[in-house]
């Protein structure tokens, strides 16, 4: 499935306690914060521990623990999306990339930086981000030690841009990619960020308002670092957002609204795309490793069970027309989607971690060594092998890639389904590219123009993928929601499906969007047509969308 984006419940399960009701006589010792823990008997200490964990210790404790989110600098204005001018003469340079890659400096991964960079380069990636997992060792060792490896790889492979980043354990939430423009301070900024704001390092993973606020403060830190010119640019994207149901809609909105120039989107499709390859050829697990259930300690209670599974390899938030992603776009604010490898250990690889590795002490696994048996129970692919995030950049540079991502000039594909995609919105004499916002007089005719180069070379599974369908999805822009935990929007549906089966030449489509009345957005979706079914919102909303993946039988090449 290929996606891009465009221009212009189950009952509540959180009974809230009112707090304890001891209101007679002197304060019990466990409630008296002037009494040390060490002076309490075991029963009292047990009760105090409980109340402390619940945030009920002390009068008004529930309301005092939220950190200030007032920015220490003038809050950056929301970006005016892309410039409303035309695309550069000759169009943008569309650069394929991947912002979610793990090396031997992650506690569950394996490869050298140069392994990933050379494979990514071989598979055609123009840019990539090394995102080792935040954690105790990484914050002290890995974040520094990976840098010379990255610098060396940049020297070895000059036609793939290699960013240093990390996979942030977002306080109170899932993981996120955080990365910075290369420079003198790339390590120091990431290291300070990780040590102050990583959920695992800061002990702030629990689902509490204080931790949610810490995440936002972390985003402000990144923005400050850019404003102070410690780094030229920084970005954050939410990874595998629906996987465990722990990115609530209000948290996503919170990140976006706190720093719209930094928190710009989420993975539309997770990595681990080999995880569902059937036994004996593969692990036979859930595609994307999406096999979780709602976690009572952390998951957002109102997500349906379907949220925990992938659809055509895509995350439910993106796959569902009229779902969470659409509910964000309907607010008229930017939020983009990507597709990445989340590469830890590669399917079919003939190597394993070096012997004698001691990650807890060293902060890395020893360099891989050869083994004879191909590792068919690994769940990942090399960067660029299957998932690609394409960015429209002004030129081949780190800054241009980051600007392109921020501007939403992004489309994604699996299995190299498309060679290129150019989508523009036109009205009056004006036009904008993907990610752009077009403004025109009411009544002006608006047109969507689509130009697709189907694949003309085989992909990395040695077959020529065939695009068969292109869908235009249109949604009303209804403005900011009043309930920030909204994850549906009624005003979005598939308005047009083109059957492009058999087309090998350039596909040019022009879809009339009518006379401009109220604000709207459009996005595009396409597929190989192998697995289609009515979407979760019903056939009137999405007659032929991606199908929920079959656990243990999801060969990703059969479902592009």
């Amino acid at each position: 499935m290929t996606h891009d984006h465009g221009h212009g419940a189950h009952e509540h399960r959180h009974p809230h306690s009112d707090g304890h009701t001891h209101d007679e006589g002197p304060l019990a010792p466990e409630l008296d914060v002037t009494v040390d823990d060490g002076d309490l008997d075991p029963t009292q200490l047990g009760r105090r521990t409980f109340l402390r964990a619940a945030g009920l210790l002390g009068a008004g404790a529930l309301t005092t623990s939220v950190l200030s989110t007032v920015a220490a600098h003038p809050v950056a204005a929301a970006p005016a999306a892309a410039s409303t001018g035309r695309s550069p003469r000759g169009g943008y340079k569309w650069l394929a990339g991947d912002h979610h890659i793990h090396t031997q400096y992650s506690p569950d991964a394996q490869y050298r930086v140069i392994d990933h960079v050379r494979h990514a380069n071989a598979y055609g990636l123009d840019w990539m981000v090394i995102t080792d997992q935040g954690g105790v060792q990484h914050s002290k060792i890995g974040v520094e030690k990976v840098n010379p490896d990255i610098v060396a790889a940049r020297g070895e492979v000059s036609d793939t841009l290699v960013f240093q980043g990390l996979e942030w354990n977002i306080p109170a939430a899932e993981h996120g990619t955080v990365f910075v423009h290369p420079g003198r301070n790339e390590v120091s900024v990431l290291k300070q960020f990780e040590n102050s704001y990583d959920g695992v390092v800061a002990g702030a993973t629990a689902n509490t308002p204080a931790n949610e606020a810490l995440a936002v403060t972390g985003l402000h830190f990144l923005s400050d670092a850019v404003h102070r010119r410690d780094v030229r640019d920084a970005l954050m994207l939410a990874n595998h957002p629906a996987r465990k149901g722990i990115d609530s809609p209000h948290e996503i909105r919170g990140w976006r609204d706190a720093e719209p120039s930094i928190a710009i989107g989420m993975e539309g499709a997770p990595g681990h795309q080999a995880a569902g390859i059937p036994v004996p050829y593969g692990l036979g697990s859930g595609r994307g490793f999406y096999d979780n259930s709602p976690d009572p300690a952390a998951s957002f209670a109102n997500y349906p069970l379907e949220a925990y599974r992938t659809f055509g390899g895509f995350d439910w938030m993106t796959a569902t027309v009229g779902g969470l992603w659409d509910s964000l776009l309907a607010e008229g604010k930017p939020w983009w989607i990507t597709a990445n490898s989340d590469s830890h250990q590669v399917w079919g690889d003939t190597s394993q971690r070096g012997p004698g590795s001691d990650f807890p002490t060293n902060g890395f696994f020893n360099d891989p060594v050869h083994i004879t048996a191909p590792q068919l129970t690994n769940g990942d692919f090399w960067p660029g092998f299957y998932s690609r995030t394409h960015v429209g950049a002004d030129n081949f540079s780190y800054a241009a890639v980051m600007n392109g991502l921020r501007a939403g000039r992004v489309w994604v594909d699996h299995g190299a389904l498309l060679e290129s995609l150019d989508v523009r919105l036109r009205a009056g004499g004006d036009e904008v590219p993907l990610g752009g916002v077009l403004t025109a007089r009411r009544g002006t005719a608006v047109t969507l123009t689509i130009r697709i180069q189907p694949a003309h070379l085989p992909n990395w599974s040695q077959f020529l993928p065939k695009l068969t369908h292109v869908d235009v999805i249109r949604g009303a822009v209804t403005g900011p929601v009043s309930d920030r935990d909204t994850f549906t929007t009624a005003g979005t549906r598939v308005v047009q499906t083109y059957d492009v089966s058999g087309r090998t030449d350039t596909i040019e489509l022009s879809y009339p969007l009518g006379a401009l009345d109220d604000g709207f957005y459009v996005r595009l979706r396409g597929s190989d047509g192998n697995r289609l079914a009515p979407g979760l919102g019903g056939a009137a909303v999405d007659p032929a969308g991606p199908v929920m993946d079959v656990v243990g039988d999801a060969d990703p090449w059969n479902d592009l």
Binding site: S17, N169, V279, V550
Partner: protein, 211 residues
């Protein structure tokens, strides 16, 4: 522990269902499953059978955890209370509710009232022990599952009701949920054309350990 005053003992009306609530601040559903099985085994030795035990999401302040509800169709209130009280005694901060009797932290009375109500009305709850649960092992057809257990309905995620001859690979781990008064097992398609319950006994662990 702060016991409430004025305990009212429910008479052993043997045929009327009793629903008790037990809150041990259990952090996860899997931990609660172990406790549920322990309670089942213990009550069986007192001759109390035909239990239905469910887990419920509960929250006190910021602390989210699992509360449990225990129903006996035929049983003795006193032995249920005694067994649950023994189980509760294993924890530091607990709550135990049975009809008018409550013993434990005052903050947990609220969670247990909610759990017992959800159970009694079958509006929500993830059910661990229920009539027929122990026979749901191996691979069974949909009609066998419906016939041999208290499960009312099987629902395919992102789909409709399955064929009665469809095969369900239980993985020996079947956790239906109440919804609108019915006990529903959510399933999804799996390799080999079978169905599996939505909840897997072996989910992929998160990449980095969370504190």
């Amino acid at each position: 522990m702060i016991p409430t005053a004025g305990l009212a003992s429910v008479c052993g009306a043997h045929r009327s269902p009793l629903v008790a609530g037990l809150d041990l601040l259990t952090p996860s559903e899997r931990d609660a499953d172990h406790i549920a099985h322990h309670i089942t085994a213990t009550l069986a030795t007192c001759g109390v059978e035909h239990l239905t035990i469910a887990t419920h999401w509960a929250q006190v302040g910021h602390l989210r955890h699992i509360a449990m509800s225990i129903e006996t169709a035929v049983g003795d209130a006193d032995s249920v209370w005694a067994t649950l009280a023994d189980t509760a005694a294993m924890g530091a901060v607990t709550g135990l509710l049975l009809a008018d009797r409550y013993h434990g932290e005052p903050e947990l009375l609220h969670t247990l009232t909610a759990a017992v109500t959800a159970h009694t009305t079958r509006t929500s709850g993830r059910v661990v022990v229920y009539p027929g649960w122990s026979g749901l092992t191996g691979t069974l057809t949909v009609s066998e599952v419906l016939a041999c257990s208290a499960i009312d309905r099987i629902q395919v995620l992102a789909g409709s009701a399955p064929d009665s001859t469809a095969q369900l690979m239980t993985r020996d781990f079947v956790r239906p949920r109440w919804a609108d008064g019915r006990l529903v097992l959510h399933v999804q398609p799996a390799a080999g054309g079978v169905l599996v319950p939505f909840e897997t006994p072996t989910p992929t662990p998160c990449c980095a350990d969370h504190a």
